[in-house]
């Protein structure tokens, strides 16, 4: 393999690694609630009034959506939440992870596919259970063309073919060296 190609491959590898670390950073950042909610929703879960703060609106499909639930009666309530896909969205309900806070609870909801979803908040307290529904819209980045997806997806196989080709050239180069050295030549045409 030429030195230039080796350096190009090295540069591509380093860039790919940096992109990967960037993506990991973005995924971690997506789970952290910001300082200001993007949308505040007042709902009632049975007898309990709730304020649901969504920190991304519309939500990013494929990333976590941070949210908080607060209620004046928070101390006597327990919370549970799930995201439910709307009819026609090819996804399954996802249970959200929640931790209790002084005012209620905070957590992250996973929204796996773009489209309409509902954040279902289940509350249990002295006045019995109640459920609140918060509609959410999830968007995804623009779709790349299908052919480009396949072009990228088959990169390991191009790598494999390139590698096989390189090994063939390497073997040919070695054979030439052996002939130049006047040593016995391994006959590739015969079974080893």
């Amino acid at each position: 393999m030429s030195k230039l190609l080796q350096r190009v491959l090295l540069a591509v590898g380093v860039v790919a690694l940096l992109v990967l670390f960037g993506e990991i950073g973005l995924s971690i950042a997506a789970t952290l609630p910001g300082s200001m909610p993007a949308r505040v929703v007042q709902v009632k879960a049975g007898p309990y009034p709730l304020t649901v703060d969504l920190y991304k609106d519309p939500a990013n499909a494929g990333y976590a959506l941070p949210f908080t639930i607060s209620s004046p009666q928070a101390r006597s309530l327990t919370f549970d939440a799930s995201t439910i896909p709307a009819e026609g969205v090819d996804a399954t309900p996802v249970h959200a992870s929640l931790t209790a806070t002084a005012n209620g609870a905070q957590g992250t909801a996973e929204i796996t596919v773009q489209g309409a979803w509902t954040l279902e908040v289940d509350v249990n307290g002295p006045a019995g259970p109640g459920t609140a529904l918060v509609p959410i819209n999830a968007t995804a980045p623009p779709a790349i063309p299908l052919w480009l997806g396949w072009l990228i997806g088959l990169i390991p196989l191009y790598g494999l073919l390139l590698f096989l080709l390189m090994q063939r050239k390497r073997k040919a180069a070695q054979a030439v060296t052996v002939v130049a050295g006047d040593a016995p030549v391994h006959n590739e045409a015969q079974v080893p």
């Binding site: 499909a61 996804a91 997806g149 196989l157 090994q167 015969q190 079974v191």
Partner: protein
């Protein structure tokens, strides 16, 4: 300056010690990368079970964590191997000959570069796959672009492990370390089986109408061709690099063992997590691993055929062309679709394709066999030559 007799002996002893360190490094990190490919296999099988029974409910579900652990440890093993060998080669230039240089900056086993490239591919493919699911839903086919990128990346990690372990076996032979040589050789056998096991995920959806090419006058299916390409490549490579007579058969033995172990791990792991995470089933739990029951059953015949033909060819001094043609023609029987859950899959395929389409698919399969045999010969030769010291 010429070395005196004592100086030369000291230098030779120092080189032997250094090579011994290289051997230990390649053997241990080659096995770590192989462990990564193994973890990936079991994680992916669990993921398939999870998708079918529960759905892709979030990005970091436990099966994905197992898969990512496999990708991560292989990548770290490759990076460590290259960084450490580069450092050693700079301190002791005599060691540079035991490795492959890259971009005038690195020195290491060729296998470590392959592992690094392949693990990076799988790692990059993971967020791309989350994006693909975000666009097209959770029930994307296994044969989607970024699934192929993740799976083939990790199959190539197993191939890289095989290269690294072959290199370790060469070093062990030179240093007269029989136990290390045996461990490395057994590692090569397992790595080849894991490569084929990981590639097998790509076969599962090929039987049926969805992946059958309808040309109007003829329908062609690619299951036999792809299975034959992967199987012949693996088995022929094994006959070239493993120093015993039943090389391909031993690889297929590990291939079946992997599927058997999978059946004892995936169903209970899924059951435990369903209970602890209060998840609901999308469809009835079969109580067995879906992957185990999708496993092709006939590659044993292909492996036996390739071993027997390779032995005959050595005894009778056949030409390489004759060997490859014979292997490709006989081994095709091992790649007909006969699966544990549907032993009559071959009859089903015949019904879908009709006699002409079935014969055309068989011919395509023969081409896959021949190409796989050629790949195996080339790769086996390249493994034998790589980093011979």
């Amino acid at each position: 300056m010429a070395l005196t007799g004592t100086g030369a002996a000291r230098s030779s002893s120092s080189l032997t010690r250094s090579l011994s360190s290289v051997l230990t490094l390649r053997l241990s990190l080659g096995l770590v990368a192989l462990l990564g490919a193994t973890a990936f296999f079991f994680g992916t099988s669990w993921d398939i079970q999870w998708h079918v029974l529960i759905g892709r409910d979030r990005t970091l579900i436990p099966p994905h964590l197992v898969m990512l652990t496999g990708v991560g440890i292989s990548g770290i093993a490759a990076l460590s191997a290259i960084v450490i060998e580069t450092f050693w080669a700079r301190r002791n230039p005599a060691l540079a000959g035991s490795g492959t240089t890259f971009a005038d900056a690195f020195s290491g086993s060729l296998g470590a570069y392959i592992i690094g490239f392949a693990a990076l591919n799988s790692a990059i493919a993971f967020p791309l796959d989350a994006y693909w699911h975000a666009l097209y839903g959770i029930d994307v086919s296994i044969l989607a672009p970024f699934h192929i990128m993740i799976i083939s990346g990790m199959a190539l990690v197993a191939l890289g492990s095989a290269y690294m372990l072959v290199s370790a076996a060469h070093l062990a032979a030179r240093l007269d370390a029989p136990i290390a040589q045996r461990v490395a050789t057994l590692g090569v056998m397992t790595a080849l089986a894991l490569m084929m096991s990981n590639f097998t995920f790509l076969l599962f959806e090929l039987i049926g109408r969805k992946w059958t090419l309808d040309l109007g006058f003829l329908s062609v299916n690619f299951f036999i061709a792809l299975a034959a390409l992967l199987g012949c490549w693996t088995f022929v490579t094994a006959t070239r690099v493993l120093p015993w007579r039943w090389a391909a058969t031993s690889v297929v033995g590990i291939y079946y063992l992997v599927a058997l172990i999978d059946n004892f791990y995936v169903p209970p792991a899924t059951g435990v997590l369903m209970n602890t995470e209060h998840l609901a089933l999308r469809q009835a739990n079969p109580g067995v691993s879906i992957v185990t029951f999708e496993w092709p059953l006939l590659p044993l015949l292909a492996a036996l055929a390739i071993d027997i033909v390779a032995q005959m060819a050595r005894r009778r001094n056949w030409s390489l062309r004759r060997l490859m043609l014979t292997e490709a023609t006989i081994a095709i029987i091992g790649f007909l679709p006969v699966l544990l859950w549907a032993p009559a899959s071959v009859a089903r395929l015949f019904n879908i394709l009709g006699p002409v389409g079935f014969v055309a698919s068989l011919l395509l399969g023969w081409l896959g066999c021949w190409l796989g045999t050629w790949f195996g010969q080339r790769m086996g030769a390249s493994m034998q030559q790589v980093e011979e010291v």
